[in-house]
């Protein structure tokens, strides 16, 4: 015990003596593992959110020309722009379909600050199953329900009035304020950590009012940024069921009778497949959410694998760095190690000393990497959740994390063994003759 204490004193003194090299080595391991941890946390959160949404809304009908991933991102996570419009009659037809147990309209076109305004109905907000205060019925086109993050960041409460900005997180050039349509905050949702935290829900009728003929007469209601006078032709809706052009400004103009998507729930999964076939027709794309989520997960798994590959590469570089630093330090410390030998400390103990030094660096890097990889997401869980549009679980251990930790420890052990062998074979007696 006394010997181990003395050995550790010697080791920590030595590590402290080359603080910069020690810090760099530890950080290299820590950063690599933190990347793996954060990737795992984010991938898991997104996959979980997509899976749950897939269960809740097994069918999404959107405009033709959008990819399934795009539709999921814009409709479920509110983090991509909708790529076109579909007629309102799609919603009405689905609503009348006996196979459909619930159906919700989505008309996303505007934003307030960085948060998207989702035109829908009170039934959809109620269907989110989130606690709230105030009123979430969206009975009037001026009513709005805010997600918890929106209310907190924009300092809004029930009764606050605000106006929307045209477009969804677009550039200032394409944005303009819908000053003629004032929303009143009627309800505020409790925080969930999910995409609803960062969304503003209004009636789809409000979106029509703003973007329809009433709202877009010669652009009168717009306080444009860099577009005081603009040809209003661009704001006229396209032929229903035809995908929008790539010009974002056109894309977000939803006049009466247009939506960006419809979410539907059915009695059983087979009916989802039937409906998907029926609604995959010119102008429309029907997404079987469960199937899309699987490919979506594949996408994220691939992204996760790529991130893990680079983290693995970083780990290898870290291991090489630690080995190089340890071997250089060994050479630099030949005289001190020779002194220990002369004082009667055996080769074996010197080898153990070097091995423990290397292991301590690796293990410290692993521990710090774990704490960074989970601690930072824990501290900024709300921000990360808003950023990825899904509730993150900061202490979730991703599938690649444990192998990465074991890999780091094995690499550290391998480096330690190499250093130990080198130390064991060093002819330190020769050093004693050098004065």
């Amino acid at each position: 015990m006394r010997k181990m204490h003395a050995l550790l004193t010697l080791i920590f003194a030595s590590l402290r003596g080359r603080l910069f090299a020690t810090t760099v080595s530890i950080l290299a391991v820590a950063v690599a593992l933190a990347v793996v941890a954060v990737t795992g946390i984010v991938s898991f959160a997104i996959a979980k959110q997509a899976f749950e949404s897939g269960r809740k809304y097994p069918l999404i009908v959107a405009a033709e020309g959008s990819s399934e991933t795009q539709i999921i991102l814009s409709t479920i996570f509110h983090i991509d722009k909708p790529r076109g419009k579909i007629p309102f009659e799609t919603y009405e037809t689905l609503k009348k379909d006996p196979r459909v147990t619930a159906v919700f309209p989505i008309a996303a076109a505007d934003s307030v600050g960085v948060f998207p305004i989702i035109g829908t109905d009170g039934a959809f907000v109620a269907d989110l199953g989130v606690g709230y205060r105030g009123d979430i019925a969206l009975a009037d086109p001026h009513d709005a329900v805010l997600g918890a993050t929106v209310a907190r960041q924009l300092l809004m409460d029930v009764g606050t009035e605000f106006t929307g900005t045209h477009g969804m997180g677009g550039s200032a050039d394409e944005a303009h304020e819908h000053a003629d349509h004032t929303y009143i905050v009627k309800g505020i949702l409790d925080p969930t950590g999910g995409p609803e935290d960062a969304a503003v829900y209004t009636s789809y009728k409000a979106v029509w009012e703003i973007h329809g003929e009433k709202g877009h007469k010669g652009h009168e209601g717009h306080k444009g940024q860099g577009e005081e006078k603009e040809d209003h032709d661009a704001h006229h809706d396209h032929v229903p069921s035809v995908p929008e052009s790539d010009h974002d400004h056109d894309r977000y103009h939803l006049s009466d009778g247009m939506l960006t998507a419809v979410l539907a729930r059915t009695g059983n999964p087979v009916q989802v497949f039937d409906l998907q076939q029926e609604y995959s027709k010119p102008g429309l794309t029907a997404v079987n959410t469960a199937g899309a989520v699987r490919s979506f997960q594949k996408y994220f798994n691939t992204a996760g694998l790529v991130a893990t590959f680079f983290a693995g590469l970083t780990l290898l570089i870290a291991a090489a760095l630690i080995l190089a630093i340890t071997l250089m330090a060994l050479d630099a410390r030949r005289r001190e190690l020779a002194l220990l030998r002369i004082l009667g400390i055996g080769r074996g103990m010197i080898a153990v000393l070097i091995m423990l030094e290397t292991l301590i660096v690796t293990v410290t890097g692993v521990v710090i990497g774990f704490l960074l990889g989970h601690g930072i997401p824990s501290l900024f869980a709300a921000d990360i959740s808003r950023w990825v549009g899904a509730s993150v679980e900061p202490w979730h251990i991703g599938a690649n994390e444990l192998p990465a930790i074991i890999g780091a420890l094995l690499l550290g052990q391998a480096v330690a063994l190499i250093a130990m062998l080198r130390a064991y074979r060093m002819d330190l007696v020769e050093e004693s003759g050098k004065n």
């Binding site: 004193t9 010697l10 001190e336 002369i342 009667g344 400390i345 055996g346 080769r347």
Partner: protein
Amino acid sequence: MRIVLQGLERSFTDPSGNRRRVIAGVSADIAPGALVAVTGPSGAGKTTFFNLISGLLLPDSGTITAGGIELAKLSERDRDRWRAKEVGYIFQTFNLLSDLTIIDNAVLPHILIGSGAKGDLEKRAEASLATLGIGDHLRKYPHQLSVGQRQRVAVARALLASPRLIIADEPTANLDDASARIVADAILALRGRSTIFIASHDGRFGAVKPDLTIALGGEAGHA
């Protein structure tokens, strides 16, 4: 500790590949507590000789018997243990571990080799360091001390476990007068209790008549 050297020889291969005999036919019978002066010009093999009698190196031929133990018959591990227990080694320079404090430099190696309990060793080290005039520098690091002060720490460490064999290789070289006097006095004070081998050009040691002189320099030394 009685040391018996018989026909000691040791050669090295120099960088050009030639075999060079450094120690040639050294024989001596040294009584316990004797003061032995090891002399010879630079490169005569004094350090090699010290490494042989401390068990760090083995002779090519001949024997070294220390306290009745023939060193060549011990395993490397046992020689390490023997050296840790019996030998106090003082060099000209590079005596201390730069990352350890003065008190840790004096004590830690002894704990690692199992020479005693930490508390007891620390008490003895503090007393010894105070005697050598560096009692106020226990928590400092070697780079914060003068060369002379560092050498005094090395002496304190070497003498801490009351070794029966003391090897001092130019222990006062490069020291200021005050430090050299303190170091020399500390080493010579052990004469009679420990067998002391000393190689030094310092007049302080020259003024003291050794019990034996071993002259190295390619010629066989003898008592």
